[in-house]
Amino acid sequence: MIELEALTKRFGAKTAVDNLSFQVKPGVVTGFLGPNGAGKSTTMRMMLDLDNPTSGTVRIDGKHYRDLSEPLKHIGALLDAKAMHGGRSAYNNLLCLAQSNRIPASRVGEVLDLVGLTAVAKKKSKGFSLGMGQRLGIAAALLGDPEILMFDEPVNGLDPEGILWIRNLMKGLAGEGRTVFVSSHLMSEMALTADHLIVIGQGKLLADMSMAEFIHQNSRSFVRLRSPQQEQLKDLLHAEGIAAAALPDSGALEVDGVASEQLGELAARHGIVLHELSPQRASLEEAFMRMTADSVEYQAHAPGAPAAGVGGQAGPADAPAWGAGAEATSKGGR
């Protein structure tokens, strides 16, 4: 269990982590999500007592990190796969870590076996591929057989096989009752791995809820309509009090919160031809981007596209705000 209380970190005038309070509980994979520069790595460094918080506290199993006598036996972390000495063999890189925590040398062979690096144990880690480096970092995290595991963007740059391996490893670790905390900026990846979500943007907490709850709240469903009589259709919907948004490029209309059957019947009754009547579901990625849109720090402004409509299939312009607090209403999901 990791507990953060009003954790804040300022770098000069910049507030990287802003009054964060949350708990990471055992037995589940907790996803830590935020766009680039949101403060994920900074938060993790403070959890490990590498960076000093400007204010606030972190507790690991109720203790300050510095009071853990053999931290590797409580918490294992992968911050940066390259954080090893390239001139040292994989085995020696792990051995010096093991020695400082009174972990028997035999355990080094075990974890190397676990991550599939036994064959290159005596090779310098400098020559390792991205995936091998990541595996070595994970071996280091597993060295003390800790109850808490923390991974900062572990799937970055990995091939599908590597991603699957890490995903299963994390689920397996959580299944054994361990606390697994993993950061990512990819919602789609988290949707497959995490049971619980913590979303931050510009250092602030945006959401702290179970994955199921997040999906329920944020998978907005809507109906897309296309008609050669678009103006008539618009007028009709307006007359019926149904809000519709016109998509700028395709000329389609998007309607929130009304079932497709109802719309089809309505159009038929008024003799309007429909070329498309399709129920749609916004992706979680889109929901995540909407949630963090206001707090994205390094945003590319595509020419002509509004800053908020990051996703390709952006929703209606007058869609409800999916802002902080995650109290966004999603109606009409059938």
């Binding site: 269990m1 055992p26 460094r45 490990l48 007592d49 590498l50 960076d51 000093n52 199993d61 990190y65 510095r66 853990l68 006598s69 053999e70 931290p71 590797l72 036996k73 409580h74 972390a77 911050l79 940066d80 390259k82 954080a83 090893m84 000495h85 390239g86 001139g87 040292r88 063999s89 020696n92 051995l95 010096c96 870590l97 020695q99 400082s100 925590n101 009174r102 972990i103 028997p104 035999s106 355990r107 075990e110 280091a140 003390g144 057989d145 800790p146 109850e147 009752g177 361990r178």
Partner: protein, 277 residues
């Protein structure tokens, strides 16, 4: 630990479940020792040191067969030429002991495993100092003994006091490396720390000499000329440089480097202890 049987697959005799004693300096020393012996830079720097001291030393021994041509120094003096160059290798090793961890990012892994930063630093200082002192004094001993065997002259000598002075010289060079390690820990950058150290070792004789060009600065210049690394090392190995009179004793030279290195070490504990990694 919260969960049951945290380390089930470890041999029981190595993992006593309770009471959980804290790991101590010994474990940090073992870890640092592994780091020291498992990288190439250790081999390169110490190899260069041994080659320089023993190689140049033996050459010098070969040339001192005519004792009347020299001011009659002790046997170990033959090692000093190699040491004046080899001290750079010791300094580089001292710097790299800590800066390589910052350069690779390993320092984060290290401090995650051992959050007591003072203990990590202490282990680094002790392991480096022990290794450097051992290798430097062994190289000097090889040269001294070779000279005792090869140079057969009534004037040749090596008293116990001269052995002690030579050992003091080895300690002086080790402390230069310790100073390098301390500066490396503070600046976190190999090239920067090495540059600072090279300046500290090579500039004083030049600067001191230049200062004596002005009358008012001559006393300061003379002081610098007397108290600097090359002069101290030559003096401890029985080759007093006679340009300026009134050289301080060996112990004064040693006290100076102890004070300087000690201040830098204290500074490194203060800085590393509270800085963000």
């Amino acid at each position: 630990m919260t969960g049951p049987a945290t380390l089930p697959d470890q041999p029981p005799e190595q993992d006593p479940p309770l009471p959980e004693t804290r790991p101590h300096l010994g474990h940090a020393l073992a870890s640092e020792w592994t780091k020291m012996v498992s990288v190439r830079s250790t081999l390169w720097t110490l190899g260069a040191l041994v080659l320089l001291v023993v190689g140049i030393g033996l050459l010098a021994v070969g040339e001192t067969n005519d004792p009347t041509g020299f001011t009659n120094p002790p046997h170990t003096a033959a090692a000093v030429f190699g040491l004046l160059v080899g001290q750079v290798a010791v300094i580089v090793l001292g710097v790299l002991t800590v800066t390589s961890e910052y350069a690779t990012g390993l320092i984060r892994t290290t401090l995650t495993a051992a959050p007591d930063r003072a203990r990590v630093l202490t282990a680094k200082y002790l392991v480096f100092a022990a290794v450097a002192f051992t290798v430097v004094s062994a190289s000097v001993a090889v040269v001294g003994i070779a000279s005792m065997i090869a140079v057969d002259s009534p004037q040749a000598h090596q008293t116990a006091g001269e052995w002690l002075a030579a050992l003091t010289g080895c300690l002086y060079i080790t402390l230069l490396g310790v100073l390098g390690l301390a500066i490396g820990a503070v600046v976190r950058h190999s090239a920067g720390a090495i540059a600072v150290m090279l300046g500290l070792v090579t500039l004083p004789p030049v600067v001191g000499g230049m200062l004596t060009m002005w009358d008012s600065l001559t006393p300061l210049g003379n002081l610098i000329i007397r108290y600097n690394a090359p002069v101290a090392i030559m003096q401890m190995f029985g080759l007093p440089t006679s340009e300026v009179g009134g050289l301080p004793g060996n112990w004064a030279q040693l006290a100076l480097i102890v004070a300087v290195a000690g201040a830098a070490v204290a500074g490194s504990y203060a800085v590393v202890g509270r800085r963000d990694v």
